[in-house]
Symmetry: C2
Subunit: 473 residues, 2 copies
């Protein structure tokens, strides 16, 4: 086993990233070579005087980028990089920025991604039909749409949102864009930049990364089992609170009514406070009535509502929308009209027809049944497992949150499953802060993209790792 020389520095770069970079550099420079074993996370953590979770994170990153691999029960080993580092004409060696892709596509048989959708039941025929109809509109298709998106599409979305989510808005308040991340970039500009944002933790990490990279300060809000402790918000100054009240990602809890009220009161308590309500998967609720949006209870024009077609139609569509309070939409149209819409006109018109014809509602009704069957199947199967300690986030969405009984670390478990062609997602990947030592190893198991057979096959691999396997890491 290799001894690693890593000099950690206090500063802006997180510790786990420093460790990741140091090991990566050593591997690239050939200081650690193919097949060599890395120190155990426990040992390295002790040597560097950091928490084991920090080392876990670094190793997980190296595994996911294809630098090292976990072998069940025996530790982490350096991969053969010869096919990753491609010779460049001038003789220099450069790091291929996408080593993951090749490996992933051939190796992963079962992917429990919480973002995958069912492609077998997609209404290809009606979708193609709407697209063909749009293609016949010829010249109109070639012109770009106004900054906020096609007006007809926005009218259709406004009607849908009112009926399905109780969202009150005019089409002028809706902004259609190429995904939530882009819309967040726009929103921060409309709000004037340099914001102080409170987020739940764990959360939707893409939003966190966007805020961080465009100069916002992100603070983690206090949480308990029911979600964000809204009554604590007043203790620190903040401009924006980013929440998922209908179905928190990834934990799956629903924000109780009392907290919703507290949250709205916090926002109303001072000028310039806003709540971003990310309503990412509210289309899929399997038990009880849909939970009305927070926006529907907003009397003070302080909720900014985000919705997406990524789960309800497809992630490949790249289409989301936000609903701005009136004064913000006026500001947008006054100052940001110069932006061209980021969604191709053809796609906007096709989605508009898909909604207007009722294809969308029919598709949603069907998918609710399809996903409910998968959800119930996975839940039933998980309940049979002795290694399952606790299941959360049920009754909605496209994944379950499963705390497991194991002596392994989360990253070891994720890496070993990947070795066997099964991709599972550790809760730590969705955390802004470090995991507390008390928290059990927790996996996100997405079921949207998998059939019952594939779910069973994936669970069988987890059975191997968690029931019979090496319990001492």
């Amino acid at each position: 086993m290799k001894e690693l020389m890593i000099a950690l520095q206090s500063g802006k770069t997180p510790l786990y990233e420093q460790i990741y970079l140091a090991i990566k550099r050593d591997i690239e420079d050939g200081k650690i070579s193919f097949g060599e074993k890395l120190p155990s996370t426990r040992l390295l953590a002790a040597n560097l005087n950091v928490s084991r979770f920090t080392v876990d994170l670094a190793y997980e990153q190296l595994v996911s980028e294809g630098y090292i691999q976990a072998r069940a029960g025996s530790g982490f080993f350096v991969c053969d990089l010869s096919n990753l580092i491609s010779g460049i004409s001038d003789g220099e060696k450069h790091f291929d920025p996408q080593p993951r892709l090749e490996g992933e596509q051939t190796d992963v048989r079962i992917d429990f991604s919480p973002f995958a959708i069912d492609t077998a039941h997609f209404p290809y025929n009606s979708w193609k039909k709407r697209n063909r109809e749009v293609m016949d509109e010829a010249a109109d298709l070639l012109m770009s749409r106004e900054a906020a998106g096609d007006r007809g599409l926005r009218e259709t979305i406004a009607t849908y949102l009112y009926r399905a989510r109780g969202v009150h808005c005019t089409p002028d308040q809706i902004l259609v864009g190429a995904g939530n991340e882009y819309l967040l970039m726009l929103l921060v500009q409309v709000l004037g930049g340099g914001l102080s944002v409170v987020m739940e933790d764990p959360t939707y990490m893409q939003a966190y990364e966007v805020f961080r990279h465009i100069g916002c300060k992100v603070r983690v809000g206090m949480m308990d089992e029911e979600g964000l402790l809204c009554c604590e918000l007043d203790k620190c100054p903040a401009d924006v609170v980013y929440v998922m009240p209908s179905h928190q990602f990834p934990m799956g809890m629903v924000m109780p009514l009392g907290r919703r009220q507290e949250l709205l009161e916090w926002a109303a308590g001072a000028e310039g406070r806003y709540i971003i309500e990310d309503d990412h998967d509210s289309e899929f609720r399997y038990v009880g009535k849909p939970i009305p949006s927070l926006q529907s209870r907003d009397q003070k024009d302080c909720v900014i509502y985000f919705g997406t077609f990524s789960k309800s139609i497809s992630p490949g569509l790249r289409m989301s929308y936000m609903v701005l309070p009136r004064h913000l939409s006026e500001r947008f149209h006054r100052q940001f009209d110069f932006y061209a819409s980021t969604v191709p006109t053809g796609q906007q018109l096709a989605v508009r027809r898909f909604l207007e014809t009722g294809d969308f509602e029919r598709h949603l009704n069907r998918m609710r049944r399809v996903y409910k069957a998968k959800h119930d199947f996975l839940l039933r199967e998980l309940k049979k497992r002795s290694w399952v300690r606790r299941i959360r986030g049920e009754n909605a969405g496209l994944h379950l949150v499963v705390a497991v009984d194991t002596a392994q670390t989360e990253s070891e478990l994720v890496a070993e499953a990947l070795e066997r062609g099964v991709r599972v997602y550790g809760m730590s990947s969705y955390r802004i802060g470090e995991r507390t030592a008390k928290e059990p190893v927790t996996l996100l198991l997405g079921f949207g993209g998998l059939s019952e057979e594939e779910l069973s096959e994936g669970l069988a691999v987890l059975d191997e790792l968690l029931s019979g396997g090496n319990r001492n890491g």
Copy 2:
């Protein structure tokens, strides 16, 4: 004529915006009512002790938003707003953020937009065919692509760019995104934000607005008839220079070789200096050989190349790409991989096929002939006009720059043409700084979207305004 009470304040808000806002508020509040005449720009400028151009800009903004209209030879009058301000349920009146749209679509017969393309010669059949083929790929279409875009598409773009523009790059260096503005937002994040940017003036104002709104400092570079004075760059600190060396927008000049060299030397002169080369319309050059890209001469990895399909295919497609130097593309893939691609998978695959099958090259060859014919026609017609003082920007692109002989101000001319259903574009709209008083009234006349008949009809209206009309404003 109304007397206006406007209190100007020195501060962050530009003077023209203060004037615009004050008049707008008075109109909305009913203090100035429908049909009333505003003071002449000359008088108001004298009263407020500001330049006449400042008032021009304010009036132009009010005209473009539908608050006031110009009547030929007699001045500016307040429009009937009753159809613009819509009653809101709670009894309050809110300003409809998009008053422009309704009016525009019915009134403008001839639009000399420099961004319009020819839709009559678009290869609808092959475009539809490629889209239909892609639709048959079913499930693959539903999945989103990696942050940088579909790999196959990037390979195809790399091949095209090398052949057509001499751009040296691997597919890993290419980033496909939903338009230049989005890609600029990403780029500024990759470069670390808070940049000091030098731009040409006049320039592509969307890029200017993006930089401004995401916290960059923009400085105007010294210009002469040949474009940016690159030898002056060293005099002030800057991180990025944004240029259009092959065909400056909107002026149309080509950056001479010597200046290109100076620019590259400036960038090589210090760590962290970059040149953004916006190669927006290089596909369309009608005389002589294409001018090789600046990127093709870059030995030090400091040029970031921007290209777009907005003119070569269509603005409705919303697809652009940037080519990053290797170290920046590595940084992107390391730190920004969490971003999902902003372009729908279907559109990426359709464009890839459009390029791979040769449809794209055939289309470009045809459009080059179509646009050359329009360009030659407009140039010939303009040369017959006595009111044309000077024509610039010829031999390439989709518009001409025409300095005209008139006693009217630019905004009066633009407004009066609009009154007659002809939209022309004043050079001031593309200026960061104020126009110098010496500069003649200058119009951008885009010809891409107009037939010869429409060009003639538009010119006839300008003849009316400029030859026979009131020469004293």
